[in-house]
């Protein structure tokens, strides 16, 4: 599927944008919302993101990474630019460390994804924060170090550890979901 999208992007086939939107729009919207914290601005950013994707299709190199990685980088940069121009970053507090996993009334978390909350929730607090800041909010290593108090020299290894933990958790995610499903069914019938 990804290869098909890439091919159509390279051929400047307009219809690919609709399909990319259907496939990745929600995930990109989640990232954008986490940065701009405004539904209206997020819509604008998402529009600009897809327009940039369309314009810069030729610059995507599949040897340097997956399509989604490229897309999310464009979305993140566009969102950060939007908040900078809106003087957003100064006003915004790193409102909630828990936003990524606990999402108290925010839009960052998709509650339909049963199990994810638990999986990421099991991640150590400072690693969660690191993922949230660097992946969802586009903080630089320096900014992330300042925000978390982690020494700049160890940010990279902490990041590796955090992502490694997520990999491990996702790896056992399927059995956890199955167990939850069996439990739910059991409760329903007995």
């Amino acid at each position: 599927m990804q290869d098909q999208y890439i091919l159509r992007l390279k051929e400047q086939d307009q219809s690919v944008i609709g399909d990319l939107y259907d496939a990745y729009g929600g995930a990109l919207h989640g990232v954008v919302l986490r940065i701009v914290q405004s539904p209206e601005l997020a819509q604008q950013v998402l529009q600009d993101t897809f327009l940039k994707v369309w314009r810069n299709a030729a610059t995507y190199d599949s040897a340097k990474g997956r399509l989604f990685t490229w897309l999310v980088n464009i979305a993140r940069n566009t969102a950060i630019d939007a908040t900078r121009s809106a003087q957003f970053r100064q006003q915004r507090k790193t409102d909630s460390v828990d936003a990524l996993v606990h999402s108290p009334g925010g839009h960052a978390l998709n509650p339909d994804h049963i199990g994810i909350r638990d999986l990421v929730g099991r991640l150590d607090e400072k690693y969660r924060l690191l993922i949230d800041l660097m992946y969802f909010q586009g903080y630089t290593q320096e900014e992330a170090a300042e925000e978390t108090g982690i020494p700049l020299g160890t940010i990279k290894t902490r990041l590796r550890f955090a992502i490694g933990e997520l990999r491990r958790l996702f790896g056992e995610g399927l059995p956890v979901l199955l167990a939850a499903l069996v439990t739910a069914l059991f409760r329903l019938f007995f």
Partner: protein
């Protein structure tokens, strides 16, 4: 740096997060191109973060997709292909051809109509000309009849039996004109033809056959014969006449 410490340095994670220096970027890409393990590790990191992103997906509001598609369409300039101007340019040659063809058809029909009118007018002109000729001839005849030198000679039944059978000849030696009034002439007996004669010194001189249904229908001009003492009409079997009269039907002295 050996592969294992490279994989564990956290550089790959920074690379995927777009958080490394240009030098680091070049280094990662060089290593990835050279070592399949690096590529596999990069893919695993990307997939993991992708899963996190999808787990936190928020459906965009309805209508946003259409806005994006419209902007992309506007950007690619595809709609300009169908702008009214270019459509007009596409249609123009055909429209011109159609107009020319229509004009041609109309012109041909107009020409045919005009040709018909010309034919009608020509017929009328011919009629008018012949009427004018006839009128001129009538004038001539009237002038002749008014002339004092013109004498009317009544040709009567040669046997002196039927007083109603008669014909008139107008004879004018001054103008050297002789006319036969055909209207007054009875139809020739079955299979017979009338021949006109002038009697000069007691001898008949042929003046030709009577054209019963002549051009003007009323008068027939006869050759002028000097010194004619009488005129006669004979009935002949030969439609072209005979050198001498066979049966004289009418006769009248000058």
């Amino acid at each position: 740096m050996d592969i294992q410490s490279f994989l564990q340095s956290g550089l790959l994670e920074s690379y995927v997060l777009n958080q490394c220096t240009p030098e680091e970027r070049v280094e990662v890409e060089r290593m990835a191109a050279a070592h399949p393990e690096v590529r596999t590790e990069l893919q695993a990191i990307e997939r993991t973060l992708e899963q996190v992103a999808f787990a936190n997906a928020v459906p965009p509001p309805a209508g946003l997709k259409e806005q994006i598609l419209q902007r992309v369409r506007a950007e690619s300039g595809a709609p300009t292909i169908g702008t009214p101007r270019s459509r007009l340019l596409n249609v123009l040659p055909w429209a011109t051809a159609a107009l020319l063809a229509l004009t041609l058809v109309v012109q041909v029909r107009e020409k045919n109509k005009l040709n018909e009118q010309v034919a009608v007018l020509q017929t009328r002109l011919t009629d008018c000309e012949s009427q004018t000729q006839q009128q001129a001839r009538m004038q001539e005849i009237i002038a002749l009849l008014r002339d004092r030198d013109t004498r009317t000679i009544i040709l009567n039944d040669a046997r002196g039996v039927d007083a109603k059978v008669a014909a008139s000849v107008w004879h004018n030696p001054a103008r050297a004109k002789t006319l036969l009034d055909i209207n007054s002439l009875p139809f020739p007996p079955g299979g017979k033809h009338f021949q006109v004669w002038a009697i000069v010194d007691g001898k008949p001189v042929s003046m030709g056959m009577v054209n019963v249904r002549g051009n003007d229908g009323s008068w027939q001009e006869l050759p002028f014969i000097q010194n004619a003492q009488a005129f006669a009409i004979s009935a002949e079997d030969n439609p072209n006449g005979n050198p001498t009269p066979t049966v004289v039907v009418l006769v009248g002295k000058v």
